[in-house]
């Protein structure tokens, strides 16, 4: 398989005005300025193959959007090299933009004052989309995303969910090879999120579109991505299939046990680890490789009086939290 995106040792630095505080400070600022260099991304490298669905995860300010903006040709990296579809995006923005689709969750690429229909019409001309392909894609989007419900409404009057559906359709109208999604489900309700996930899954499967998704919503990642790249303070701290993430970091299961009475500690069962308590309830961690759930439960019931018990598999959100937890 050949990689469609290559990122090699990319670093992007921003100069931030440090600014002094107070009245005297602001006067001094007029004459001399102190700059502080911030590394938004720091020496990151990865490759993405055609047809992959990659989750790009990190806390606010970890450098997710910066990477996306470099790959879409909007930002120039301070050092390093990136290639998208054989094109260096920041050297040839226009050429690159013909083969990619981009959705920024926080802003619309549609024309605010124009009805949805006219925005699509403009995009058809911008990307020189042939009539039959345009018709075919529109039918698909009408079918799945139901964008025809508000075809004649100006974009500014759409709800967030409606707008996002339109933006997604707009980004895929020209059959791009790669789709960049920067927090596409931000602020959406559960039903709208679900619709969008289904749609993305289909696009990835049927058209073999490579999709890179940044999000804070780990449910998005769990539902969609096969591979996850985790970014922390501008560095890649994890880049593996989602299954590896679960196996390596999700090695611990959680038991939620409610006891009949309050116990100071559970030291008669040394295999377990209590990490949270609430009245008579305790949350217990144990290694899934060393012990079976049955053996742990029977050991607890032998020594203590229990009222209720339930078992949780770790979800991606917990795992990512653990990874961050290990870093600090």
């Amino acid at each position: 398989m050949s990689s469609i995106i290559t990122v090699k040792n990319i670093t992007k630095e921003f100069r931030v005005n440090k600014g002094r505080s107070g009245f005297l400070g602001s006067v001094t600022n007029l004459f001399s300025r102190d700059y502080r260099t911030v590394q938004a991304v720091n020496d990151i490298s990865f490759e993405i193959n055609r047809g992959e669905f990659v989750g790009y995860v990190g806390e606010n300010g970890a450098g997710k959007s910066t990477t996306i903006k470099i790959l879409t040709g909007i930002l120039l990296p301070t050092s390093g090299m990136a290639e998208v579809n054989g094109i260096i995006p920041y050297k040839n923005r226009v050429e690159n933009s013909k083969r990619i689709g981009v959705v920024f969750g926080q802003r619309s690429q549609l024309w605010w004052d124009l009805p949805v229909r006219e925005s699509f019409d403009l995009l058809k001309s911008i990307y020189h989309i042939p009539q039959d392909l345009f018709r075919h894609n529109m039918d698909l989007f009408i079918d799945i995303l139901k964008v025809d419900d508000f075809f004649d409404v100006p974009v500014r009057k759409l709800s967030l969910g409606q707008r996002m559906r339109c933006d997604l359709a707009a980004s895929l109208l020209h059959d791009p090879d790669i789709l960049f999604l920067d927090e596409p489900t931000i602020g959406l309700d559960v039903i709208a999120k679900d619709k969008i996930r289904k749609f993305l899954k289909e696009i990835n499967r049927d058209r073999n579109t490579t999709i890179i998704l940044t999000t804070h919503d780990m449910d998005d990642i769990e539902a969609l991505c096969k591979r996850i790249i985790i970014l922390d303070q501008g560095k890649i701290v994890f880049d593996n299939p989602l299954s590896t993430l679960k196996k390596e970091y999700g090695g611990e299961r959680v038991l939620e046990v409610e006891f009949n009475e309050f116990y100071e500690s559970l030291d008669k069962v040394p295999e377990i680890n209590v990490f949270k308590e609430e009245e008579n309830k305790k949350w217990i961690k144990f290694s899934r490789e060393k012990y079976t759930a049955a053996s742990i439960i029977s050991k607890i019931t032998e020594n203590y009086e229990i009222k209720d018990i339930s078992i949780h598999e770790p979800n991606v959100e917990d795992i990512v939290k653990t990874i961050y937890g290990n870093l600090y």
């Binding site: 959007s65 226009v94 124009l114």
Partner: protein, 265 residues
């Protein structure tokens, strides 16, 4: 090319939706003409035309006042487009598309100008014909020269706005630049008083600025105030300014792209 024509037509359509703005603009434009023609009438009634040494008779100055204002009204455009997009970060949505930012902004402005010409410029001109004593040029050449010269003038105005807009990459607020432009454009363009009336020292400054090429030159060429040599010099002057401003626009854009930090990175 097709896409930019579409942008022009969409921008034109957008203007139609702002009905109240339109009526206010119409009344405003007509009021300006009324005030300035009244002023000139009063001045020329009080003083002998020779006292001004500008070569304008009462009839020709009224004609000038009407036409310069018709051009100015037609040249109305949104000069905040780029500043707004840089400040909100919405510029990215243009950058992810395979289009030239310069060209789509120009298209948007042209759409606005076509609207202002048809919906405000022409009706106000028609109204003025009834009220004021205006002498029309009858030569076809004048109209052709007007189209050429007004196009250059328009490009000069657009690029000044565009470059000031791009300043938003370096300065938090471009308002002070805009304010300076408004002042210079209002006075030095000949939009209020023809450049001929300026004292010699001021005229020599105005000669080195682009503003008189926006309104004064097209109006004078149209009204046949220049002889052949003057027309050629004026057009060359316009072409030089268009070329220079285009070069500055390009350089500023390239530097701005290097400077680019989109909000929410």
């Amino acid at each position: 090319m097709e896409i930019y024509i579409k942008f022009i037509s969409k921008s034109f359509q957008k203007q139609i939706t702002y009905k109240i703005e339109y009526f206010v603009g119409f009344i405003n434009g007509f009021l300006y003409i009324f005030v300035f023609t009244s002023l000139w009438n009063a001045l020329y009634a009080e003083y002998d035309a020779n006292a001004f040494k500008s070569g304008f008779t009462k009839s020709s100055i009224i004609t000038y006042a009407v036409f310069v204002m018709i051009i100015k009204i037609s040249f109305s455009m949104d000069d905040q487009i780029t500043t707004r997009k840089v400040r909100t970060g919405d510029l990215v949505t243009d950058l992810i598309k395979p289009v030239s930012y310069f060209c789509i902004t120009l298209s948007e402005c042209i759409g606005q100008t076509i609207f202002h010409f048809l919906a405000r410029g022409l009706p106000i001109l028609a109204l003025s014909l009834f009220i004021f004593d205006i002498s029309f040029p009858i030569n076809v050449t004048n109209y052709l020269l007007l189209i050429v010269s007004a196009t250059f003038g328009y490009l000069i105005l657009f690029m000044i706005n565009y470059i000031i807009g791009l300043m938003a990459f370096w300065f938090f607020d471009t308002f002070s630049f805009q304010l300076m432009k408004y002042g210079m454009y209002a006075v030095f363009s000949g939009g209020v008083v023809p450049v001929d009336f300026f004292p010699a020292s001021l005229q020599s400054i105005v000669d080195f600025l682009p503003f008189k090429y926006i309104l004064y030159i097209p109006t004078c060429i149209f009204l046949g105030r220049f002889d052949e040599d003057e027309v050629i010099t004026a057009l060359i002057g316009q072409i030089c300014w268009v070329a220079l401003l285009f070069a500055i626009s390009k350089i500023t854009w390239i530097r701005a792209m290097r400077k680019l930090v989109i909000q929410g990175g």
